[in-house]
Symmetry: C2
Subunit: 163 residues, 2 copies
């Protein structure tokens, strides 16, 4: 239903959310979210263009959320990357359907409406607040203001248990 770009953007947003005010460089976001670096740079740029993140240049520069995690929903992220298309009018432009969609397009629109509802009702803070930590990001007491983040070893497909 969602493209890999959207998936990567959601991961990046969650990571920036865990980082709170700390700026993060693209390569760090890429590493932490298991995203190809070029992809990570691209989605971070899209988050900036969508008003969800800010970028700072310079040696201590990087990306950070532009609002508190409580104020950004998963839907906000999705809409910044690949907006969910609601069906407001007959895609075939049929006059018979000017006032009411046909059942086919009603069903397709119902799926889109549900996606808006589901993703719009969960903020980045909600994602972090739950017991299962997102993206495997384990931070001491969770939700630190400035504490550096630490991450588990990436899980290799042919998992070598000896770290």
């Amino acid at each position: 239903m969602f493209s890999m770009t959207t998936e990567y953007a959601l991961r990046a947003a969650v990571f920036l959310s865990e980082s709170r005010g700390d700026v993060q460089i693209a390569s760090r976001v890429a590493e932490a979210t298991k995203t190809p670096v070029r992809y990570a740079s691209r989605v971070l740029q899209l988050l900036v263009e969508g008003g969800l993140a800010t970028s700072q240049r310079g040696p201590s520069g990087g990306f950070a959320l532009s609002r508190e995690p409580e104020q950004i929903t998963l839907l906000d992220v999705v809409q910044a990357i690949e907006p969910i298309q609601r069906i407001r009018a007959c895609p075939l432009n049929l006059p018979e359907h000017a006032h009411e969609l046909c059942p086919l397009h009603k069903a397709i629109d119902a799926v889109a409406a549900n996606a808006e509802q589901t993703l719009g009702s969960m903020t980045l803070a909600d994602v972090m607040a739950q017991q299962v930590v997102p993206l495997g990001i384990t931070i001491g007491g969770r939700k630190p203001a400035v504490a550096p983040t630490t991450f588990p070893e990436p899980a290799a497909d042919d998992a070598d248990e000896s770290k």
Copy 2:
């Protein structure tokens, strides 16, 4: 949420459904469903490959549904074109999430699950049975077995009311 390819495939399936046993050539499907001919040919081929339609060669050849409209759901069509991806395991392959997805991926999967449920509970027959005729296809008494289909004039953007 769905690509234009999927949209066109759904339109084609509804049209074949209205046509019942009658075979339809790709250009006719394209015209009736306002789909570019090359696109229509492609989605019809995908419907055949997905087992939802059959194609017959020859002068009286064309495409027809392989099952009754009562036995094909919108989900069947979507899955034949661009399968809905459920999230069964952590996309980051994190061992911490081996037994339970994180809230982010649970939410994404919930959207996919809803799409499966919504589209899986509506058959092509259901689409045709409702009052607002799908795709503007108006057939005398609706659901004829073999009667030729007739269609309204395409609604041009700058609608020419004459004719």
